[in-house]
């Protein structure tokens, strides 16, 4: 992810600020990762394993809507908890 920054900061081209690009890509990748986990988690919760036809039935559709909302709630709660933790012991986050 930072390869780009590494390379580009030594050779900036035509008004492209590599730090900004890099931050935007981190944001993009983070959102994509969350979205992918949400798709997988809600599939596991809402979609049956028997595939007799390709339509979402009403129960599945309603479940998906609630699942997305609930997953997002969990995301907020976990984010708040991590922020509190990080404030408490700033700097001791990474396991490595």
């Amino acid at each position: 992810m930072s390869f780009f920054t590494g390379g580009a900061s030594r050779a900036p081209a035509g008004g492209v600020n590599p730090e900004k690009i890099d931050a935007a890509l981190t944001e993009l990748d983070t959102i994509t990762d969350f979205y992918n986990r949400m798709v997988a988690s809600c599939h596991n919760k809402c979609i049956g394993q028997r595939y007799t036809d390709g339509e979402l039935n009403t129960g599945e559709s309603v479940c998906i809507d609630r699942c997305v909302y609930k997953f997002t709630e969990v995301q907020k709660k976990v984010g708040e908890a991590l922020q509190k933790r990080q404030a408490a012991n700033a700097g001791a986050m990474s396991g490595l």
């Binding site: 959102i31 979205y35 798709v39 809600c42 699942c67 995301q75 907020k76």
Partner: protein
């Protein structure tokens, strides 16, 4: 993602990068569907060809996965604005 403070060159660069990311994402989705639907639908290895039952299952599974992820995407987009409390970006 807020790109309002991006220069023209930066926006052009991001557009290119995002396009490629989307292609890579799409290929990974393809690959995940294959794995998931194979795992759910194929349990008989007395033959190497797909039975018609397995094939029907794979088709339904694929269609359903796409409809599911589109629905998740639509709901997610509605909620997304306020959701990123911990994003370092």
């Amino acid at each position: 993602m807020d790109m309002s403070n991006f220069s023209g060159a930066e926006q052009a660069h991001m557009t290119k990068v995002i396009e490629r990311r989307q292609m890579v994402d799409f290929l990974q989705t393809y690959s995940k569907i294959v794995e998931r639907c194979f795992t759910s639908c194929c349990n008989d290895f007395t033959s190497k060809t797909l039975s018609s039952k397995e094939e029907t299952c794979v088709m339904s599974c694929t269609e359903k996965f796409m409809k599911h992820s589109e629905r998740v995407g639509a709901r997610f987009a509605e909620l997304n604005a306020g959701a990123w409390h911990y994003c370092a970006c």
